[in-house]
């Protein structure tokens, strides 16, 4: 596993804590990247120490863009600390001043630059002003709505829909992994911390991260006993098995988290102890050859040399704090990022249709303002998912029926049985889910999703062990979606729904609640200009039975696609889910 230990010179805590952090990392033979903020470039002691760390330990001096204060900068940023939330001209002015100062003090440009986030325009301006920048800390995985709530609606960092691992930011949306070199911004980005791949989908990403004091904030520790911190390290290590031996980790704890702070009810000794345990464990893993530590610049160069642009990655998430035994599967490639919920029968819980290449920059001069998240087609946490109160929301499922008896596979709990990821094709297979209809018919359903290039997913649903081997089943793949970026609905006008069947039909999404059905349908689709994508459910002609599309209404603002096949006895149906670019 690759490891970056990241530190930053403190602007709001005592400097001695930062120095203790450095000493601690070095005591475990770990090198660090020290992010120096603009105002600290005026501080002789900080600069002298940074050079000393570089000489003695091979640490890197990076540039931090977290705090936008200091000569010339404060009057532009006006207490705004987020580079991605300035307008383009202010981004340029601020970055120009800061980069000049860095060159003046360090005698060279920074190779690594840190922020919580760089939007596409900040990244482009950064690279224009300083082509020597190679690596950035580019975003916070799944930070958005829940952290906004959790921080009293006062934390305006919306980064949902991004990669969990390092990536090549595309030019048009820095959180979308580039499809190829031409699409790439020419920079390697790493996420700001590694996040729990179960709990940052279900809740706050900032509690469950590679940052021991964050876990204290989430109350996941029992004083200075917190095995979760090490469990998370090992879960990321486990991903090597399905990613060609590749895994990545970083930790970035600021000094302000290691003293009294508003996110902890424990004395600082507890945070210090847990940070020590985390670094000690990483140091032990280094000693045994399981972890390779590097500076961020070194990591970025390794990434460029060995991780091809556009390579698919997977993550098999196993929940390990509540004891739920839940499994999730994540897949990412240049066409989409997708989350499969094994506990809901292999339903899609989150779908970011990167194929549409939606361009996003943030700042007061953009229509996006503060929302940097990549738009979704499905987000079952923000948009209801499985029905539990009123109507269901964004989700997928398989509806099974036998005569008048019906079942929804989202209520069939399974786990992940197997994951593969080789030669551009990834797959996830769930454990067989036992089902029983109200009429007594029993059987097992096994779901397998195969992720192919160019936005194709092949879904196999296998029925076995039917209690009546002659039973007739009707199987309907169901896709309910809505374009969005936060938890609130967005305007769905302009969406077009269609069926390739008998007859062929098309309808405009008009909040009428209207539905159409056709027999012998081989495809149902939605064209969604908000995400610049067309989403299709398709099957081969011989298998088609019927298809339907449905517009929602204002109390249930979703479009729904249905594609039905039938099965006599045990057997398998195959459905393709295709995402296509419909850029204007």
């Amino acid at each position: 596993m690759h490891l970056n230990v990241l530190h930053r010179t403190p602007s709001d805590a005592v400097y001695s804590i930062f120095k203790r952090q450095q000493d601690l990392a070095h005591s475990f033979n770990l090198k660090t990247t020290v992010f120096v903020s603009y105002s600290d470039l005026f501080n002789e002691e900080v600069v002298k120490d940074a050079f000393q760390y570089e000489r003695e330990f091979g640490d890197e001096i990076g540039l931090s863009i977290h705090a936008l204060n200091g000569p010339g900068v404060s009057k532009i940023a006006r207490t705004q600390n987020c580079i991605w939330l300035l307008n383009a001209s202010a981004k340029r002015e601020v970055l120009d001043i800061i980069l000049r100062k860095f060159r003046e003090i360090c005698g060279r440009p920074p190779v690594s630059v840190g922020s919580y986030h760089f939007d596409s325009s900040a990244l482009r301006i950064l690279k224009e002003l300083e082509p020597g920048v190679e690596t950035v800390i580019g975003g916070c995985f799944e930070e958005g709505v829940r952290v906004f709530h959790g921080c009293n609606h006062s934390w305006y960092l919306f980064n949902e829909g991004m990669p969990w691992n390092p990536w090549y930011p595309s030019q048009s949306h820095s959180l979308r992994p580039a499809a190829d070199e031409k699409d790439s911004s020419g920079i390697v980005a790493v996420p700001h911390l590694m996040r729990d791949m179960t709990l940052s989908y279900e809740g706050r990403n900032d509690f469950w991260a590679s940052h021991p004091p964050n876990v204290i904030r989430g109350m996941g520790n029992d004083a200075s006993f917190c095995p979760y911190d090490l469990n998370l390290v090992d879960q990321f290590r486990m991903q090597e098995e399905w990613n060609d031996g590749y895994s990545y980790y970083n930790t970035f704890v600021s000094a302000s988290w290691l003293t009294w702070n508003h996110n902890s009810e424990y004395p600082p000794e507890v945070a210090w102890e847990l940070y020590t345990k985390q670094l000690r464990y990483l140091g032990e893993l280094k000693k045994s050859g399981e972890v390779h530590d590097s500076t961020l610049a070194e990591y970025g160069r390794w990434h460029r040399a060995y991780r091809p642009v556009g390579q698919p990655e997977v993550y098999w998430a196993k929940e390990m704090l509540y004891g739920s035994h839940k499994h999730y599967f994540w897949f990412i490639d240049p066409s989409r990022r997708i989350l499969i919920d094994a506990t809901q029968g292999g339903a899609v819980g989150d779908l970011r249709p990167y194929a549409g290449r939606v361009p996003v920059a943030t700042g007061p001069d953009t229509a996006n303002r503060e929302i940097a998240s990549y738009p979704f087609l499905i987000q079952s946490q923000h948009r209801s998912g499985n029905a539990h109160h009123c109507q269901d929301g964004a989700r997928t499922t398989l509806l099974l029926s036998n005569g008048k008896a019906e079942l929804d596979s989202s209520f069939l709990r399974s786990k992940i049985a197997a994951v593969t990821n080789t030669a551009g094709e990834a797959s996830v297979t769930l454990t067989p889910a036992k089902f029983q209809f109200a009429n007594g018919l029993k059987g097992e359903l096994t779901t397998r999703h195969i992720f192919l290039p160019q936005g194709q997913i092949k879904t196999e649903r296998t029925i076995s062990n039917l209690s009546d081997p002659q039973a007739e089943l009707t199987l309907t793949e169901y896709f309910k979606g809505a374009p969005g970026r936060t938890e609130y609905p967005e305007d769905m006008h302009g969406i077009r729904l269609g069926i390739d069947g008998n007859p062929k039909r098309q309808m405009e999404f008009d909040y009428s609640g209207e539905a159409f059905e056709s027999v012998a349908a081989t495809m149902v689709y939605a064209e969604v200009p908000q995400t610049r994508t067309r989403i299709e459910l398709a099957t081969v002609a011989g298998e088609a039975k019927s298809g339907a599309v449905k517009a929602g209404h204002l109390f249930s603002p979703y479009f729904t696609l249905f594609l039905t096949q039938s099965l006599k006895g045990n057997g398998k149906i195959i459905t393709w889910t295709n995402l296509k670019n419909i850029e204007p």
Binding site: D12, A13, V14, R146, H149, G150, C151, N152, G203, R204, R217, M219, G220, N221, D222, F225, P227, Y228, L230, N231, D234, Q235, R237, M238, S256, T259, W260, N261, H262, N263, E265, P268, K318, M320, L321, Y322, G323, H325
Partner: protein
Amino acid sequence: MDQSEKYRTLMRCPVCFSRDTDVLMVPEAGGHHYCPKCSFNGEESEVRGMYRDIQKKFHWMTKRFTLEEQRKL
């Protein structure tokens, strides 16, 4: 004085926290704390007891899962 000293006596509201929201309570004389965002108020010992209750949902909070153990989870 270290800026962080002011946080020594501050605690988050256990009711708001149970909804995943961080809200700092206001301390009053006699060790009493009240929440500006909801109607909760109580003594420190009561607050700490409620934190413990919130943590009960983490059934595996004290479990270490090594890499090999996670493969089997």
